[in-house]
Amino acid sequence: MTTDTQLSTPSGAASARALDGEARVRLYETMVLCRTYEEAILREYHADKGPGFDIGKGLIPGEMHLSAGQEPVAAGVCAHLSTDDGVTATHRPHHFAIAHGMDLRKMTAEIFGRETGLGRGRGGHMHLFDPDTHFSCSGIIAEGYPPALGQAFAFKRKGTDRVVVAVTGEGAANQGGFHESLNLAATWNLPVVFVVEDNDWGISVPKSACTAIPSNADRAAGYGIPGERVEDNDVEAVHAAAGRAVARARAGQGPSLIEVHTLRMWGHFEGDAQGYRPELAEVPAQDPIPRYEQALRAAGLLDDDAVSRIKAAASERVEDAVAHAKDSPLPDPAQATDHVFA
């Protein structure tokens, strides 16, 4: 079964392996762990915001961007990575952090603003930096792509076959830094896999209202790199496309772009009433996790017992991390200006 820190298969030839039953169940487990985590953060975030909704209140204050519905992208992509590979993510980072093997206790302590957190409470949920898994994320749209180029550049220079996955949303595909990054990665043949999570919405603006073409995978052609679009938020389709892209990068064939049409099940941020979203009522029925569970049950890979065990195991890990966070000390205000410089 999976270890505590690694949810992914080793690099190299394994990326090209077809999915056996064990691997398929692992994808399901990863998605369940991601969702269980987001549900716990949702619960903790809203527990103490009242009586109305005061964003600055509570044990987890500030903005919160949760990834429910987008688990297939993280699970399918990160299955091809080891913790030696890099990942740069967005303001909605939790599923990728988890799927890539981040320590849940350190991650959660950071979200709760504790001294034991990844950033000693300085960064918060949009600024998770983990040198152990070469993971980082940023709150500025598209700006996670350029640092990914740098990690890839360093990995290549050291003569390794390590790769970097750089994640944005579909709205970021209209930002300058996105285009500069694709061009530079292509020109310098860097081992980057660009992943675009197309969840249809840039906060309140639908993709159709702000993007000139329907598929950002077609933009890859403009930079001379392979582009693939996965249409239906299916974890195995993501896994296959990512497998091809990662294999190309490891083999020194340079960058690729994968766009996945995924689903933002909740608001852009917590507190977003989503009045602008007409299809909201249909969203729960499109939840990718029960759908995949059904497929695995039909294939004889899951039954009631297995599902219960998987959910219980996820819950135990998540609640352990939350308890650890709550038990951790707050940072010392006297040290508020520390760590600006090394």
Partner: protein, 77 residues
């Protein structure tokens, strides 16, 4: 006397409680019809409450107090 109820913002959860986030008028002041009285919030949706008639307003709840949808939050005499 005209009642000013907390608006029914949440049609899916009519029992949802909300808060009066902001009073824009003071107790005992005289208001015009359609004057902005308050901003309220239910399930993260905010709405303005305007005076249904002109008159003197009596505030029945404080800011941040929890109120049921439909419950009166003010009277206008």
């Amino acid at each position: 006397m005209t009642e000013v109820p907390f608006p029914g913002l949440s049609t899916e959860n009519p029992d949802s409680e909300g808060v009066v986030s902001t009073w824009f008028v003071g107790e005992g002041e005289s208001v015009a019809a359609d004057q902005l009285l308050a901003e309220v919030q239910v399930d993260k949706v905010a709405a303005e409450v305007l005076a249904p008639v002109a008159g003197v307003v009596r505030l029945l709840v404080e800011e941040e107090a929890v109120v049921k949808q439909g419950e009166p939050i003010a009277h206008i005499d």
